[in-house]
C-alpha cells in the first residue's frame, strides 16, 4: 500500500488481545478459599470506565466505580489475606438501569457476549485472569442462564407502548386492577392481552429500544426471539414451583425458556466461549432453582466437556439455590449436574441460628447428617473429582443477605465481632469450599441489599485490623493443614444449647480437633476424641493454650465466651 510508514503499526500487540493459553491452575478445589468480590465495590483502578458512577457513597444502588483494573491493582490485598480463588461479579454487559437502580451487581444481562464496560473490556478481563493466575488465584465467573434484563414489555393493551394502567378487574367484581406491562404478575395461561372489554389472546411482547439505558434487544441476536421466553409474568407465589421455574424474576427479569433446545444450545455456546476467551477456572451459577432440573445435566455436562476439550480440567461449576431446604439445594448436585451448591441451609441453620441466635450446636450435626442423602455422593463425570456432598460451598453471608455483623448487632449480642470470629473459624475449618464475602475481614456490617455491598475502599484495604488478622490466620491454618481441607469430619461434641461445638478433621496423616464456644458464657465439657491418651494438644491458632488428652482419648475442653481453639499434637 501507499503507507510503508504504517508498517510500524504492525508492532506486536498485547498478549491480551488474543485468546489466552488455557491453563490448569487448580489441582483440587478443596485446597482453595474463594473470595467473593463484587467487582464494582472492590477497587477503582481505571477512571476511564467510571461511566454513570455515583460520587455519593450512600448511593449503593448505583455504580461506584470498581473494576477489573482495581482487582489487578490490589491483588496484593488478596495475597496478604491468603485467599487463592476469587469469584467476581457477572462479566457481561447489562441493562444500565431500571427503576432508578443501576446494574452494578451484574445480574441484568443484555448481551451474553460483551463485557460490562463499567468493568473493562475483554482484554482487561483476560489480563485479570492472567494476573490472578500468576498469584495462584483461581477465577470464578458468575453466570446467569435464567433470564435477561428488562429488555421487553408485555403489550397487554396492544397499543405499542409500555403502560401502567388501571382496568376494571377481569373477575367481574367491578373493582379496578393495576396492570404494569413492564412486569405483570403470574398468569398460568401466559400473559394475556386484554382491556376492559375482555381477553384478546396471548399478549405480544415488544422489545425495547432505549439505547441510553442499554435496554435494547439481547445479544447474541438469536436471543431476541419471542419464543425463547416463557412470557408467564412475574413470580408471585414462591411456593409454586411452576412459577419459580417459569416465572419472571421480580424486577422485570424476563425468564428464558430453558427447556427449549435452541435456548440451551445458545446458552452453552455463550458460556463455553467465555472459558475459551478468558481461561476462567469455574462458574458460579445464579438462580439455579429457577431453571428446570433437567437443564442442569445438559448444561453442566456440556460446559465440562467443552472445558476439557480445550485443555481445562477441574472446571468448577457450582450454583445458587437460594433456599434453606437441604434436599432442594442438594438436588442440583446429582447425576451430572452441579459440582456443588452454595450451602444456604448451613447459612440459615448454622451461621444464623447457631452463631448469631444461640441455637443448639446439635443443629450443625443434624444438618450435616442430611447431606449424605440429600447431596450427590459421587464426583460428577468429567468434573472436579470430589463428590458434592464432600464439598459444599460454605458461606456465612453474601451479596444477597445481610452481613453477619448486621444481624449479630441487631440480635443484641454483647460482642458481635467475637461471634463473627467464631463463625469465621467454623467457615475455615469445616469441610467444604469456603467463600469469604468481601469486606467481612474489614468488619463491614451492612444490612440487606444494597447496604451489604459497601465499597471495600471505605476500609482503605487496611490489613492491620484484628478481624483481618484473624481471617488471615485462619486461612493460613487451612492451607497449612490438609486435615482441614481433605480430612474426614467427625463431630466430637454438640449439645442441646448454645455452647461447645467440637469436631475432628482427620486426613489419615494428621488429626485436628476444632472447638468453638458459640455461647456468651464459658463452657467446659469432656470431649471424646481420637487422640491417643497421654498426648498434649496445642492450639494451632497461636495462643499458648494446651490441652491434655486423658487415657481413653478424652479431652477436657474449657473455653471462654465465643472462644475458639484448633488443637493438634
Amino acid at each position: 500500500m501507499i503507507l510503508p510508514l504504517f508498517a510500524l503499526l504492525a508492532c506486536a500487540p498485547s498478549p491480551y488481545t488474543a485468546d489466552p493459553e488455557i491453563t490448569n491452575l487448580v489441582d483440587d478445589w478443596r485446597d482453595r478459599v474463594i473470595y467473593q468480590a463484587l467487582t464494582d465495590r472492590f477497587w477503582n483502578g481505571d477512571g476511564s470506565n467510571d461511566l454513570n458512577v455515583s460520587r455519593d457513597p450512600s448511593a449503593l444502588a448505583r455504580y461506584q466505580g470498581g473494576d477489573w483494573e482495581g482487582l489487578i491493582d490490589r491483588v496484593d490485598y488478596l495475597d496478604e489475606l491468603g485467599v487463592n480463588a476469587i469469584w467476581i461479579s457477572p462479566v457481561f454487559r447489562n441493562v444500565e438501569e431500571d427503576a432508578g437502580v443501576s446494574s452494578y451487581h451484574g445480574y441484568w444481562p443484555q448481551s451474553f457476549r460483551d463485557t460490562n464496560p463499567h468493568f473493562g473490556d475483554l482484554a482487561k478481563l483476560r489480563e485479570l485472569v492472567d494476573v490472578m493466575h500468576q498469584h495462584d488465584i483461581a477465577v470464578v465467573f458468575d453466570v446467569v442462564v435464567n433470564h435477561v434484563g428488562q429488555l421487553f414489555y408485555y403489550d397487554i393493551n396492544m397499543n405499542g407502548r409500555p403502560d401502567i394502567t388501571d382496568y376494571y378487574a377481569t373477575d367481574g367484581s367491578g373493582g379496578m386492577e393495576t396492570v404494569t406491562e413492564w412486569d405483570p404478575g403470574w398468569d398460568p395461561g401466559g400473559i394475556q392481552a386484554w382491556t376492559t372489554l375482555g381477553y384478546a389472546g396471548q399478549a405480544p411482547i415488544e422489545w425495547l429500544w432505549m439505547p441510553e439505558l442499554n435496554r435494547v434487544p439481547p445479544e447474541p441476536p438469536e436471543f431476541a426471539n419471542d419464543a425463547w421466553y416463557h412470557r408467564m409474568g412475574r413470580v408471585e407465589d414462591w411456593g409454586d414451583f411452576d412459577q419459580v421455574v417459569r416465572g419472571d424474576f421480580p424486577g422485570g427479569l424476563k425468564d428464558l425458556a430453558t427447556e427449549n433446545p435452541n435456548v440451551r444450545n445458545a446458552l452453552i455456546a455463550v458460556w463455553s466461549d467465555w472459558i475459551r476467551q478468558t481461561d476462567a477456572d469455574g462458574f458460579r451459577i445464579d438462580t439455579v432453582k429457577h431453571v428446570e432440573l433437567d437443564f442442569w445435566p445438559e448444561f453442566c455436562g456440556a460446559i465440562r466437556t467443552f472445558a476439557h476439550g480445550i485443555g481445562k480440567d477441574n472446571f468448577l461449576v457450582f450454583g445458587e439455590s437460594f433456599d434453606g431446604d437441604d434436599a432442594l439445594v442438594g438436588s442440583y448436585t446429582f447425576d451430572g449436574m452441579l459440582d456443588s451448591a452454595a450451602y444456604f441451609p448451613q447459612k440459615y441453620q448454622v451461621f444464623d441460628d447457631v452463631f448469631k441466635y444461640g441455637a443448639a450446636t446439635r443443629k450443625v450435626e443434624e444438618l450435616y447428617a442430611q447431606r449424605s442423602s440429600n447431596w450427590g455422593g459421587t464426583p460428577q463425570e468429567g468434573g472436579i473429582g470430589v463428590a458434592p456432598a464432600d464439598l459444599p460451598v460454605n458461606f456465612m453471608d453474601n451479596h444477597d443477605t445481610a452481613r453477619f455483623l448486621f444481624d449479630a448487632q441487631n440480635a443484641g449480642l454483647p460482642d458481635p465481632e467475637a461471634a463473627l470470629r467464631g463463625a469465621l473459624a467454623f467457615l475455615f475449618t469445616t469441610e467444604g469450599l469456603p467463600v469469604l464475602y468481601y469486606g467481612t475481614e474489614q468488619g463491614f456490617s451492612g444490612g440487606n441489599d444494597p447496604a451489604n455491598r459497601e465499597p471495600l475502599w471505605w476500609s482503605g484495604l487496611d490489613t492491620s485490623g484484628e478481624l483481618f488478622s484473624w481471617t488471615q490466620r485462619l486461612i493460613a491454618l487451612r492451607k497449612e493443614h490438609t486435615a482441614l481441607t481433605h480430612g474426614e469430619l467427625r463431630f466430637a461434641w454438640t449439645g442441646d444449647a448454645a455452647g461447645l461445638l467440637a469436631f475432628e478433621r482427620d486426613d489419615g496423616a494428621e488429626l485436628l480437633l476444632v472447638a468453638i464456644n458459640t455461647a456468651e458464657a464459658p463452657v467446659a465439657e469432656t470431649v471424646a476424641t481420637s487422640f491417643a491418651g497421654g498426648s498434649t494438644l496445642m492450639d494451632l491458632l497461636g495462643t499458648s493454650r494446651s490441652f491434655a488428652v486423658a487415657n481413653g482419648g478424652t479431652v477436657d475442653i474449657a473455653l471462654g465466651a465465643r472462644e475458639v481453639v484448633v488443637l493438634g499434637e
Binding site: L3, L8, L9, A18, D46, S48, R55, D56, G120, L122
Partner: protein
C-alpha cells in the same frame, strides 16, 4: 449599525478577506455524500460547509507604527437552502488588535485579543500539526533579519462537560424559582513560543528550522455532584509540548515542504479546545497522557503539473494507565494530489489517500485487534483563478471513491450506513476559496 460601519471607514483603511468552502454532494444512492474516516485528521475533500469572513481595519500612524484590528466571524453547519432551518453555528474566531512597525523596535509586533495563532498546516488534511494556539490573550512577534520569534499566551474556560466551569441552579434568593450560580471556575493558562532561523538557499529558496514549545496549566477545583450533595475534587493539571519543524520553500511557484515532529503530554496531548472526557486517571487528571506525531506537507509544481502531499503519523496514549486500551492508538494518513493545469483556468486533479488506525485495544464488536483502513481515490476537475495547486477560488466537481477494509466497517455500528459496504461513493459540486484570508494564505 451604520455608524459602526462608517467610523472605521473614516479612521482607517478597511480590507476584507475570506476563507470558505461549500458543496452539494450525493452518495449516488439517494443520500448525501458523507465523509467516511477512521482517523482524526483525514483528507479535507468531503468537509462540511464553513465560512470565515475577515475584516481588517488598518491605521498607519506616521512614525508611530501600524495598528490593525482583525475581526473574523466564522460560520459552520448546514446551509438554510439545504436543511430549511434558519440557523447556523456562529463563532468569533479572530478579534484582536496588533501593533507593528513600532518606532525604535523594528521587527517587533504585539497583539491582544482572541486569535488563531498558528503556524503551517498540512493542507491536504486541514491540520496544524505543530503550533496551533487558539486563545484569548496576547503575544509578541519579533522578526530580526533571518529570525522569527513568537510568543502567545492566553486563557480559556471551555464550557463542555463541567470540566472547567460549572453552573448550578439554586433557589432564587428573593423570589420563587431558581437561578444559576457559578460553582466551579478554573481557567486554563496556555503559553506557546516559537523560535525560527531562516537561511536563504540559492536565489529564491528559503530554509527554516523552527522550534516550538507549549505549556498548559489548569488549577485545582471542586465540582458539585449529585445535585450538590457531593463534592468532587479535581486536581490541578498540566500539559506541555515541544516540537521541531524543518521547512523549505520558494524553489518553484507555490512550492514548499514541511516536516513536523511534536511530542506532547497531558493537556497538550488532548488539544487546547478539547475537554478530556475519558481516559483520565483515577484522580481525574490527564497529565500522564502522551502524544507523539510526525507530519509532512509539501507542494511542488510547474506550469503544467503540480503535486500536493500531506500526511501524519500519531501515537496517543491517554492518562488512564490501561495498557490494552482502544483509546490508545497509532493512527496516520497520507494523501497525494497530482494535478494537471490545462490552462490558467482549468485543472484536473487526482487524489489518492489512505488512513490507518491501530488501536491498542480490542474492538468490542468483534473482540479482535482490528486495524481499520480507509483508502480513497478522488478525481477533481476544476475551474480556478490561476494556475497552481493552491490557486483559489476554485469551483470543482469532486468524485471520491472510498474503500473500507472489513475492520474499518466494524469501526461503525452495524446499523450505520458506513458499515454496510466496503465501497462508498461521493460526488460533489462545490467551491473553495481563500481571498486575503488571515487564516489561509
Amino acid at each position: 449599525m451604520l455608524l459602526l460601519l462608517l467610523v472605521p471607514a473614516v479612521l482607517a483603511d478597511v480590507s476584507v478577506g475570506s476563507y470558505g468552502r461549500v458543496q452539494a454532494s450525493t452518495d449516488l444512492a439517494g443520500g448525501a455524500g458523507d465523509a467516511i474516516d477512521v482517523v482524526n485528521h483525514p483528507t479535507r475533500l468531503e468537509k462540511d460547509p464553513y465560512l470565515e469572513l475577515d475584516v481588517v481595519l488598518d491605521r498607519q500612524v506616521e512614525d508611530a507604527g501600524l495598528f490593525e484590528v482583525v475581526v473574523t466571524p466564522a460560520l459552520a453547519g448546514d446551509l438554510f437552502h439545504y436543511d430549511g432551518a434558519w440557523d447556523a453555528d456562529l463563532a468569533l474566531r479572530n478579534l484582536y488588535a496588533e501593533a507593528s512597525a513600532l518606532p525604535r523596535a523594528p521587527g517587533l509586533s504585539c497583539w491582544a485579543g482572541s486569535r488563531m495563532w498558528r503556524g503551517d498546516d498540512v493542507h491536504l488534511l486541514d491540520f496544524w500539526p505543530l503550533d496551533e494556539l487558539n486563545v484569548v490573550g496576547g503575544g509578541l512577534t519579533f522578526r530580526p533579519k533571518g529570525w522569527d520569534f513568537g510568543l502567545a499566551t492566553g486563557l480559556n474556560r471551555l464550557s463542555a462537560g463541567e470540566y472547567q466551569v460549572q453552573w448550578t441552579e439554586v433557589p432564587e434568593e428573593a423570589g420563587v424559582g431558581s437561578e444559576p450560580v457559578l460553582t466551579m471556575d478554573r481557567q486554563r493558562f496556555v503559553a506557546g513560543g516559537r523560535a525560527a532561523k531562516l537561511w536563504g538557499v540559492g536565489a529564491q529558496s528559503t530554509l527554516r528550522l523552527k522550534a516550538y514549545g507549549e505549556l498548559q496549566l489548569l488549577p485545582a477545583a471542586t465540582r458539585l455532584e449529585d445535585e450538590g450533595e457531593i463534592t468532587l475534587d479535581l486536581p490541578a493539571d498540566r500539559g506541555g509540548a515541544v516540537g521541531l519543524q524543518l521547512s523549505s520553500w520558494g524553489w518553484a511557484h507555490d512550492s514548499f515542504a514541511h516536516l513536523f515532529v511534536r511530542y506532547a503530554t497531558g493537556l497538550s496531548a488532548y488539544g487546547l479546545l478539547t475537554v478530556p472526557s475519558d481516559g483520565m486517571a483515577t484522580d481525574y487528571s490527564v497529565h500522564a497522557a502522551r502524544e507523539f506525531q510526525v507530519a509532512l506537507s509539501g507542494n511542488h509544481e510547474t506550469d503544467r503539473v503540480g503535486l500536493l502531499v500531506g500526511g501524519y503519523l500519531r501515537r496517543f496514549q491517554d492518562a488512564d494507565g490501561v495498557d490494552v486500551d482502544p483509546d490508545d492508538r497509532w493512527e496516520g494518513a497520507l494523501g497525494l494530489r497530482p494535478t494537471v493545469f490545462f490552462t490558467d483556468l482549468a485543472s484536473l486533479g487526482v487524489e489518492v489517500s489512505q488512513e490507518v488506525l491501530r488501536p491498542d485495544g480490542l474492538n468490542p464488536r468483534d473482540r479482535a485487534l482490528d486495524v481499520p483502513m480507509v483508502t480513497k481515490l478522488a478525481v477533481l476537475p476544476a475551474l480556478q483563478a490561476g494556475r497552481g495547486s493552491l490557486a483559489r477560488p476554485q469551483i470543482r466537481v469532486q468524485y471520491v471513491l472510498t474503500y473500507l477494509n472489513d475492520d474499518a466497517r466494524l469501526w461503525f455500528d452495524a446499523r450505520d450506513t458506513r458499515s454496510q459496504r466496503n465501497v462508498h461513493h461521493f460526488l460533489g459540486l462545490g467551491a473553495e476559496w481563500w481571498l486575503n484570508s488571515r487564516s489561509y494564505r
